[in-house]
């Protein structure tokens, strides 16, 4: 009998051990403190991580009994992480949201409508284009923290040396790139290139290509008359692809390995003084200065040059609130704290990432530096990127086509772009 009892107890213990473990959903710890769970990209990079932790410590000091449990996620895998957390019912109270995944996350129903939590004054303090990019069907589903709009950054000293004016059109940009591509030490090998082309088929590459294509007046995806449409395949889009490919194949102004050179590699090339121009966000400048302090004072920015128009996507990063959160008011208080005027100003001064609140932009002396001219101009003209859940797939299709054209100069550009347009139309049809 004893043996049987022992066996049963042991079996129960073994089975229990299989299921042993804590729940990830925690609203209060054993010590009775309130725990706010946060998933953010900020803590995975520097100098953002250190400053974000400072802000968190300050918030905790102001709110005794509150603990912010912060988990880091790299931007490129944020969507995957959020999806798996949501699917397993372990979504944190607050999670990162950016404009290229906001449509997908909204479709999953995991973003609380923040409109009731914000006063009219708070809503109108958000930069208009940023607020629009955070809004779907009239609901604000993300509270913005900062933005990093892309502009054309360039070597001011090289431009002065060669007597080149900062480009305002894509034609001027190509001409400037040709002048900047040179053999500076006379060894017969080109050692500086005009333009850092991001040819990888990822979000970084496709976003920059879209900026060029939209400058030609062709939209990769837009919502009109109740349906999603694309201009890819139009003469304007063909011109854009041709221009992009020509930078490598005709003008030879991009460094070797353009197709494998992602954003980080191009930032390194700029820091290593191998490229003269790059389409990049304001935060990249900080990275370049960190890698090569000698470049301080030698980099300027202009708004994205145009062909027939100019296009700067919002590039907002913000927070979304889990509708299942048990600490909604505290979470809202936290995100407002992170974006308040003082913190936003300190944030841009440390990280180069721009504020999204009008009061912070108006009062930041740091932004008066000519270095930020192009980015500030971009902020004033930012346009919301499409928030279709299938936008990532459309971008991959664009990436596939520009890689083909970069690799093989003999291809018929018009035929390839038209095929790309058909593929995008298929994506639209399959998803609507």
């Amino acid at each position: 009998m004893k043996r049987r009892l022992f066996t049963i107890v042991l079996s129960v213990l073994l089975v229990a051990s299989v299921f042993a473990g804590g729940s990830s959903e925690s609203t209060s710890s054993e010590s009775g403190e309130t725990v706010l769970t946060v998933l953010t990209t900020a803590v995975t990079q520097e100098p953002e991580g250190t400053l974000a932790k400072e802000y968190i410590a300050e918030f905790e000091a102001q709110h005794p009994g509150v603990h912010i449990e912060c988990t880091g996620v790299p931007m490129n895998s944020a969507l995957q992480r959020i999806t798996t957390l949501a699917a397993s019912g372990a979504l944190p109270d607050l999670f990162v949201n950016v404009e290229n995944i906001i449509g997908t996350l909204n479709e999953m129903g995991i973003c609380e409508d923040l409109t009731p939590y914000l006063s009219e004054e708070e809503k109108s303090n958000i930069v208009d284009a940023v607020r629009e990019s955070c809004t779907i069907d009239g609901k604000i589903i993300a509270y913005p923290w900062y933005s990093a709009p892309n502009a054309l950054i360039f070597r001011t000293d090289w431009f002065e040396e060669l007597g080149i004016e900062p480009p305002t059109t894509l034609e001027e940009m190509a001409a400037a790139a040709q002048k900047l591509t040179r053999d500076t030490n006379g060894d017969g090998t080109i050692d500086t290139y005009g333009f850092g082309l991001i040819g990888t088929n990822d979000d970084s590459g496709a976003t920059r290509f879209v900026m060029i294509m939209r400058s030609f007046g062709a939209r990769e995806l837009y919502f009109e008359d109740g349906e999603w449409k694309t201009d890819v395949g139009s003469p304007e889009s063909i011109q854009a692809f041709q221009y992009f490919a020509d930078l490598k194949n005709k003008y030879g102004v991009v460094p070797p390995g353009a197709i494998e050179n992602s954003f980080n590699e191009n930032v390194n090339l700029m820091a290593m003084e191998q490229i003269g121009m790059l389409i990049a966000g304001s935060n990249s400048v900080g990275k370049i200065f960190n890698a090569n302090p000698d470049l301080r004072g030698k980099i300027g920015s202009v708004q994205m040059p145009s062909a027939v128009t100019t296009y700067t996507p919002v590039s907002m990063l913000g927070w979304s609130l889990n509708p299942e959160s048990k600490n909604k008011d505290l979470a809202i208080e936290f995100v407002k704290f992170m974006s308040n005027k003082e913190n936003s100003i300190k944030w841009v001064e440390t990280t180069g990432r721009l504020p999204v609140m009008k009061d912070a932009i108006a009062e930041s002396d740091y932004l008066a530096d000519p270095l930020f001219d192009g980015f500030i101009a971009g902020v004033e003209n930012m346009v919301q990127a499409p928030n279709a859940p299938f936008y990532a797939e459309v971008k991959t299709e664009l990436g596939r086509t520009y890689q083909k054209l970069l690799l093989d100069p003999t291809l018929d550009v018009a035929a390839e772009v038209k095929a790309c347009g058909e593929a995008i139309q298929n994506i639209i049809d399959n998803n609507t």
Binding site: T83, P256, A258
Partner: protein, 300 residues
């Protein structure tokens, strides 16, 4: 009395078997939760249009129908077969070669060589991917630096940007990363072959090649065939190294089936369609497993 003893023994058997079931129940539950459930769940969602959170629209065999007509899927299968074939071939050649060298009695610094040769296998795939990305880099990569320093090339070779070279570049890394496992297995097999057989073969006038074909190869064949099959299955669904080197590019040149599955699911949020592809690969792997079992039985 004897009848009573029999009854008691039956009760004991029953208790023993119940206790047995109770003891294996945790392992059984783990197996069901960690292996059987995900497998069945994966198959089930291949019949749904789902984002795994709030959308579960039943679509029946729609994705299977679409997949059968999808030329890009067959292209990715073709690339997978190519990657698998050449990776396993390369690993096998290197593994057989090094295992035969390491088994030599008179080899100096045998332990040092063995440790060095096993090193690539210890590195995580992500680290290997990043390391070789740097080695291959067109601007500051070591390979281009050496080739240019030796005046073998004038312009850098874009190893990972060229659709003609990229798959071979990836295969080379995969061979380098994976051959030590096979080498260790073969080394163990080689050490079980009796030296008497070699001596007898030598007395019979067999040369090196004949000794390898008639003594070594039959001796390592049971291990080799199992390892080969494992390698084929691993390579067929390999993801990490290729993803870290090329993310399937450029222009899909290294988009093998595992990357296709990942992108469809996690980049485009079409988990149902992604599962359909995974089910296809699962079937292929099952067929390979059955083939291997059949081969083993015929060996016996």
């Amino acid at each position: 009395m004897a009848k009573d003893r029999k009854v008691i023994r039956h009760k004991g058997d029953l208790f023993q078997s119940r206790a047995g079931y109770a003891f294996i129940s945790p392992a059984f539950l783990v197996l069901v939760l960690m292996v059987v459930y995900p497998l069945i769940y994966g198959i089930v969602i291949s019949f749904f249009d789902t984002n795994l959170v709030n959308k579960f629209d039943f679509v029946g065999l729609k994705y299977y129908g679409r997949l059968i007509k999808d030329a890009s899927f067959y292209a990715s299968l073709g690339r997978t077969v190519m990657f698998t074939f050449f990776t396993v071939l390369g690993r096998t050649i290197l593994a057989v070669l090094f295992a035969n060298i390491l088994v030599m009695d008179n080899l100096p610094y045998k332990k040092v060589f063995r440790a060095i040769l096993v090193l690539p296998w210890f590195f995580p795939d992500v680290v290997v991917g990043m390391l070789w990305r740097w080695l291959y880099n067109a601007n500051y990569g070591l390979f281009n630096f050496i080739l240019r320093s030796l005046h073998i090339i004038d312009a850098p070779i874009e190893w990972l940007s060229n659709t003609d070279t990229v798959m071979w570049a990836v295969i080379l890394v995969s061979i380098w990363k994976g051959f030590p496992f096979m080498m260790v297995m073969l080394l163990a097999a080689l050490q079980t072959i009796s030296k008497d057989l070699y001596e007898a073969a030598e007395l019979d006038g067999c040369g090196v090649i004949q000794r390898f074909l008639h003594v070594t190869l039959p001796g390592i064949m049971p291990v080799l065939s199992t390892t080969l099959m494992l390698e084929i299955m691993w390579c067929f669904k390999h993801f990490t190294l290729i993803w870290n080197l090329t993310k399937g590019g450029p222009v899909d040149a290294t988009r093998v089936v595992s990357i296709d599955i990942y992108r469809t699911g996690f980049d485009y949020m079409r988990f149902g369609e992604s599962s359909t592809r995974a089910v296809f690969v699962f079937i292929i792997i099952i067929i390979l497993t059955l083939l291997q079992k059949k081969m083993k039985r015929s060996d016996v």
